[in-house]
Symmetry: C2
Subunit: 100 residues, 2 copies
Amino acid sequence: MAELDELLCQSARLQIMASLMTLGAEEQVDFTYLRDLLKLTDGNLGAHLLKLEQAEYIVVEKTFVGRKPKTYLTISDKGRRAFKQHVTSLEKILHFKDKK
Amino acid sequence: MAELDELLCQSARLQIMASLMTLGAEEQVDFTYLRDLLKLTDGNLGAHLLKLEQAEYIVVEKTFVGRKPKTYLTISDKGRRAFKQHVTSLEKILHFKDKK
């Protein structure tokens, strides 16, 4: 049976990963940009990112721009594979391709 | 944000619901048929069905055919709504429609 990834079964996390999937190989996304895009609080986004980071699905880079702390995010190869596998499983289970 | 239904975030349960969604209004599906279709054990399918029944997403009817116990399953209106909502949320998050 097509297996779903438990970590990607939560709306915010799936949306974070879907957003990061659109990035090119060298691209990063800013914490603040993602927070506003997904309409999440700092704390909420931070908690989801931590889980994704612990699973090595994303890479979180904390740095300073001048005196301002900045957090940049990228998706890892493992994260890309997990996302693709999850979506393929969903399509198999739901037969999206048949319905459209 | 499009919300996912936690109960439908598990492969077997999502597949059970997807199977029951294909039934007409008066149709039922047999426990054994579903078990074989989804390649699950009795215990495993039983546990998932219990969760779906407790959420009132499905109706489980136990009866006897001769001396043989039989279990029939139908999806409830609440179950249909939950499934549709879940799939709509997935499509929104993943922009399936844009990609195809």
